[in-house]
């Protein structure tokens, strides 16, 4: 732990504290966990290397999450769109999922996670994928197509305020703002 602290550097540590919702301990822990994922020779240059998505997904906190791939894609700054994360991306992820992050930022990232085709709105396809993720892909927990159709029309009726057939970010945030438990459930703690 001591070595990692020195490796991270005091300046960048305070900078990360300034720019994220994480505390000092959380950043150090994140650093430790992240370096464990890296190869031995990559450890020296922290921000230059990317850890591929497959390795990130071996973290027990993300391993069983049905949205794990989406989470990686949303927080990745990789040009190849392969979902690989740098350390800073990783900190961004933890910051958005931390205890003290605001509702606004959490809902923003939640929206992007649910927006499977990255087109900026949740349309029927997105909603269907979302519901499938929520209920699981196995046959006994998958909703029938009839139920799915009814469910999606119900959702749109409830939250699609401008009636354009999709849920956009502000409509999404409107729904989120009325469910106070969201902040406590949208949380990943290392």
């Amino acid at each position: 732990m001591g070595t990692t602290a020195s490796q991270l550097g005091k300046d960048s540590l305070s900078e990360y504290q300034e720019l994220t919702f994480l505390t000092k301990q959380e950043i150090l822990l994140a650093h430790k966990r992240f370096t464990e994922l890296q190869n031995r020779d990559e450890r020296n240059h922290l921000n230059a290397t990317r850890v591929p998505m497959e390795k990130i997904l071996t973290l027990p906190e993300l391993k069983s999450n049905p949205f794990r791939k989406r989470i990686c894609h949303v927080f990745s700054t990789s040009e190849a769109k392969d979902g690989s994360l740098t350390f800073e991306d990783f900190l961004d992820l933890l910051s958005a999922f931390s205890d003290s992050a605001t509702l606004e930022i959490k809902s923003h990232y939640a929206f992007r996670i649910f927006d499977f085709d990255d087109d900026g709105t949740l349309d029927c396809g997105d909603l269907e994928k979302l519901v499938n993720c929520l209920t699981g892909e196995t046959d006994d927990t998958r909703l029938t197509s009839e139920e799915m159709r009814q469910l999606i029309s119900n959702i749109l009726e409830e939250s699609d305020i401008d009636k354009d057939g999709t849920v956009n970010l502000s409509e999404f945030q409107h729904v989120i703002s009325r469910s106070p438990d969201f902040v406590s459930s949208f949380k990943i703690v290392l």
């Binding site: 720019l19 900190l91 930022i105 990232y109 959702i155 729904v175």
Partner: protein, 849 residues
Amino acid sequence: MASGQQRQGSGNGYLTDQESLRLRRVSSRMSSPIYHDVNRSTSSAEEDDKGGSELNRELRSTPWHMAQKRTKWLEQQKQVRAQFSGGSWKHKRTKYVRQFKSNVRELLYFFSLWGKSLQKIGGNFGGGVQSYFFFLRFLVVLNFVSFLLIGGFVLIPSIVFRSEGSNLARNTGEEECLKYNPNPEGLVVFYEFFLHLLSGTGFMEYSYMFYGYYNNTMVEDRSLSYNIPLAYLFTAVFYFAFCLICIIVRMGKAARVAVTTGGSDVSNYSRIVFTGWDYGCLGSKATNLKQRNIYYRLQVDLEEERLKMHAASLTLCNKVTLYSLRVLMFFVAVGLIVATFFAIATATTFSQEQNSNVQGMLALFYEYLPSIVITAGNFLVPLLCDQLALIEKYSPSATVVLALLRAVILRLVSLAILLYTLWGQITCHGNTYYRNITESNTTDCDLCQYNHSAYPCWETNVGQEMYKLTLFDLLVNIAILVLVEFPRRMVVDNWSCKLSQWVGRQEFGVPSNVLGLVYGQTVVWTGALFCPLLPLINTVKFVIIFYCKKITLFNNCRPALRTFRSTTSTFFFLAATMNILPKKSWHVRNKDNVARVRRDEAQAAEEEREAKRRVERAEQEARTEYLRRKARAALQSAGVKGDDDGEQSGASLEHLNLFPLEDSSEKKGNEEYLREKKEEKEKQERAIGLLVSLGPQPGSEVTPWYMKSSAEQEEERKEKEKRKGISEEEKEKKDRRLKDSLDPLKDMKKAMGVYERREQKKKEKRNKEEKKSTGESSIERLRAERLQREVEERRRAQAVLDQRSGKRKGAHREMDERERPYNSAFFPELARKRQRRDRESWRDEILKS
């Protein structure tokens, strides 16, 4: 995103190369058009100058990537440094305050009770279970502070003064009633020591634990005077007030959240789908359970909707059966609860009677009989009520609420029954049976106002009762953990027979557990006056329960199938009343109201149309009447022959009434007049503020502007403009005509016109003369113009040819500095892209021309 980022980039020409690269990468990646506005709005919000700390907080909560945030941050730092050059102490202070705050927060986090455990619980089992433990922690702290209060003001002074041996305060009342000497025995057998510890008798009774031990000590020195009875009383009052305030503060927080978030019934599906997932779930097992849970909820809700439709189509007979069944079940449930109360009362009386007759273990059993009966009742009756709920067939949400309501009533009222029975015993009231058998007791009661021979210090007895309840609750909790929960888990895990699989692992039911806590706390509040150390005992008890529950949670439990909303539950249980908040709709603009307004408007429009139709018909009739009369007059003048016929037809017209109803409605007063009058009255009322209608005014737009899409708004605006344009044009024309006819300026102009015409004629004459002299020059001017035009055309043609042959490749079009959205040196890629676009647009322009 991209443009905002570019603008930002152009501001800092001093960015290091690496960062600019990062920026480019980010901006090229995030080219989706939607996340655009959020970002721009936040960045524009940041451009407003604010304090340093606020800026950073803003920055932290912007959905940017680290690189972007860092760039912005560095920029801000520079700005701040420039602003506070010379190290203004204000800036320093804010910085230090911020640092201090974060340090304190970290320290508090470090010291906060069970912070890590709570986080872990929240991570593994979700917010609902976590809220239970938060509540438990709150109660522990509350009890501990209460103990400090009591200890500081009552316990320590009594100990000090007792050792000093000060004088007793003067006594009031009969000497006989003040006798209190609870068995100051010598040696006791070990097991009896244990029994005393459990039942609060023997050595426990005569200790600081109970009310009876405290003396009426009053210290009066020159400098100091301390009245322990008074302190005791005031501390108790203050203790209750303190607890009340704590709870109200906590409740207020929860209530505020509940109120601001509105009802829970609205947007139920969206809520499940959008916020249903708990990202803290660890392990594939928990994930599967959670998925199953969500699936179950969705299916139940969809099913419920279908059931509602089904219920609407029920026949009368079915309904009557269902409702009668419900009423019956209600009475059965009430009967069960009342039976429990009766059992508690009987047990209390019995145990108090048998108290002095037996010794040893049997005495202990009798001592604990009320506690046992209460616990058993609280365990059994909810189980039976659950079975009743199956028959009642309420909707799932109603079932949960009903079950909780019954449980709350049962728990709290059973405690009240216990107290009432004790009260009856102590004061010899309400227990005629007892008085009839032993006559002597009446005299005792008459003497001291209470049964002195049986209860030498009745306050201690009540305290003992509460002490036993608290202790028994703890023992039951531990016993259930050791004897039920662990074996159950082992059986379920190791044996795979059908029964054990059906039973399954235990669920951690938040409602029932919180109810247990509330019950324990209520017992403490009841007994705190008579047993001052009860808060301390309760603190210890809750700490033990915390660890027990944590162990059982991590080892024995699976996440509950039915989740419980954490925020509303806090409020719910603290209030210990029914959950009224989710039932009430707090916003006026809900679906029902909107529908009602629309319906009313549609009705009004319909009525208006009806009135119009009637007016038209009236006019038509009048016209036909007029024409008919005219025709009749013509006929009369033409010949006398048709006279009879005309009269007959008129009579028949009067008698033949095809629409009697409508006619009568038409004849009923002057409706238009009445309506006008009513409208006028309403208008007046509205003006003086008597009549206030919520929502949009009738006749105004149905959906407010913020709920409309931009396209809709645009359309509406256009339409309005069109309408307005037409009407305004007409109005203007009319207006102008009127004005023109009245304008005195017109006359003047007329006069002036005459004069000007004369002048012009003169000028023309002069011009003609001039033209004759300069005829050559005008031709020359035309020729020059032609040449210029030709040159221009040639140049354009040349440009097109150059474009074709690719000669102009190297030539750069000089751009206005302001047109550039970025510094091309730092964004070569973007610059190239932009250039290409510019070039294309330019070429199009040329081709067009």
